[in-house]
């Protein structure tokens, strides 16, 4: 079996909020092209982990490496080819679906301010291309009908899809999904799964997702990381993790609390 290059490396990351240990010396790596799920009981530090990876939280110690280079701030993400969705949705609620998705790619724009003001050549071309690409993603995710609707007015399930569309728009190398299926009905989850798989297969995007639905996790992922109270409990293929007694104890334990 060929050794795949590590895309994302988490090295000994620790994070604390006012004394509460959110992450405790966590180390793992995500290989190019794999689907990696981060699971764990509530409060395990999963969202904190993703927030650290995406540069929103600064770890107290340790570092995050993407393609070998250290990753520090949120604004480096798009340039490096990393995109993410948020647990509580971080959509631009005053804008339309199309505008939100176009924003996903906007950082690539090269036309200058004046070219844009006068809608000259390069600006007009970029706008057109932007719209076409966005329309493609909208069609892929089945939300083309809501193209011109204001995002803030859409139902929750559709908003989740818009956020995914925005994240996919720049065809990222790495996609971080923070509970992409939270609050969805069975049908919505099934559709979301399908989109995620399609994105993975069509675009070759490496996925890191936080997910509570263990069935989904076992089904979709190649690699599972289990966190509990900030510490890494298990790290391996889904089957191995599922049978790990420590993991079982952590989950059962959390119920008993």
């Amino acid at each position: 079996m060929t050794e795949r290059a590590a895309l994302l490396e988490i090295e000994d990351v620790s994070l604390a909020f006012d004394g509460v240990r959110a992450l405790d010396h966590v180390t793992f790596r995500v290989d190019r092209g794999e689907v990696c799920a981060i699971i764990g009981p509530n409060g395990a530090g999963k969202s904190s982990m993703v927030n650290v990876i995406s540069g929103l939280y600064k770890p107290a110690s340790g570092r995050v490496r993407f393609q070998g280079r250290e990753l520090r701030r949120a604004r480096e993400l798009s340039g490096l080819g990393i995109a993410r969705t948020f647990q509580n949705l971080a959509l631009f609620r005053g804008m339309t679906v199309l505008e939100n998705v176009e924003l996903g790619r906007d950082f690539r724009g090269r036309a200058s301010f004046f070219e844009q003001a006068f809608r000259l050549g390069r600006a007009a071309r970029e706008e057109r291309r932007s719209r076409e690409e966005a329309d493609q993603i909208l069609a892929l995710l089945g939300i083309a009908a809501h193209r011109d609707d204001i995002v803030g007015r859409l139902p929750y399930g559709l908003q989740k899809r818009v956020e995914l569309a925005r994240a996919l728009a720049p065809r990222p190398k790495l996609l971080l999904l923070d509970e992409p299926m939270a609050g969805m009905t069975f049908d919505e989850k099934r559709d979301m799964c399908r989109f995620i798989v399609e994105a993975h297969e069509t675009l070759g995007t490496t996925l890191v997702l936080i997910e509570h639905d263990l069935a989904v996790v076992m089904d979709l992922s190649d690699h599972v990381i289990v966190l509990d109270r900030g510490r890494k409990l298990a790290d391996g293929p889904p089957d191995a993790v599922r049978r790990d007694p420590e993991v079982i104890r952590a989950y059962v334990g959390s119920f008993a609390d």
């Binding site: 927030n51 929103l56 509580n88």
Partner: protein, 293 residues
């Protein structure tokens, strides 16, 4: 040296006035989370009501009581007609609404009471007390005492009474407050009524010093730098802010003013506030905010 002290004291006294007006802002901010731009117009309205009643022959105490009643009714009306409709609005919308409110109140005040300047006599002289090396009048001392009293009362109310604690809870997290069963509309009404009272007192004292006139509502804008410098969340901060703004403004005017033609007071406090925000975004004694993603 004496001159410097005189200017300083003068500034501090002006600061006392600013503090009082700022208290009204703090009350409402603590309760509704909004910077009530209409506070200035409320001060003006209160002062005009009082002055008009006095001019119609009512004795001071009665006039004060009647004006108090008017302010309470006004405050509750505002809370019900405007604030309650904007419960879920973002802070900017609320602020803009109070801007509209300010205009309504100003127009109303001038329509009802006319535009001329009214002198306000409350029986305490504004002449410098003889024998002191500095220019301080009985009115200044009275104002200082009233301000101190007001601040103490408010401080006690916030810490000790149920309504006060409730208001602090609401300021902290309105939804949690609701969940615990606090009567939000009632608390808001209390806060606004309180602001109305503070407005009346401020209007009274200020009017006694400079006369009751339209520019009162503009001067009140200075409360914003006071609150920014002192921090919105604590009464101690308001006092610190008020004194700092009053003193620095006067000092700047006297020492730097002549170099540039004077009139610096009109913008100095705001520039100072900007400077503060750049260095200490939450003010001298304010709380630090944490943003959870």
């Amino acid at each position: 040296m004496i001159f410097f002290l005189e200017v300083l004291i003068g500034g501090l006294l002006a600061g006392v006035m600013y503090t009082m007006v700022a208290l009204g802002f703090v009350l409402i901010y603590k309760a509704s989370g909004v910077f009530n731009f209409a506070q200035g117009s409320m001060v003006l309205f209160a002062a005009l009501t009082l002055v008009t009643l006095l001019e119609h022959g009512l004795p001071l105490l009665l006039a004060f009581g009647a004006a108090l009643l008017v302010m309470l009714v006004l405050a509750v009306a505002i809370e019900r007609a405007v604030l309650r409709q904007l419960v879920n609005a973002p802070p900017m919308a609320l602020f803009l609404a109070t801007l509209g409110l300010a205009f309504v109140l100003e127009g109303l005040a001038q329509l009802v009471y006319g535009t001329q300047v009214h002198g306000l006599e409350i029986g305490i002289s504004d002449a410098p007390i003889r024998g002191l090396p500095l220019e301080v009048s009985k009115l200044d001392l009275f104002a200082g005492a009233v301000a101190a009293a007001l601040v103490t009362v408010l401080g006690v109310l916030f810490q000790k009474t149920r309504s006060g604690v409730g208001l602090r809870a609401v300021a902290d997290d309105p939804i949690a407050a609701l969940a615990v069963g606090l009567d939000l509309p009632r608390l808001w009404a209390i806060a606004w009524a309180g602001a109305g009272v503070v407005a009346l007192v401020a209007g009274l004292l200020w009017g006694a010093r400079v006369g009751v006139q339209f520019s009162l509502s503009l001067v009140v804008l200075k409360a914003l730098p006071v609150l920014i410098i002192g921090g919105f969340s604590s009464i101690g901060g308001v006092i610190a802010g008020g004194l700092l703004v009053g003193a620095s403004e006067k000092l700047a005017e006297v020492y730097v003013g002549p170099l540039v033609g004077g009139g610096i007071e009109s913008w100095f406090p705001y520039v100072l506030a900007v400077g503060f925000l750049l260095v200490r975004p939450t003010g001298l004694l304010g709380e630090r905010l944490m943003e959870r993603v």
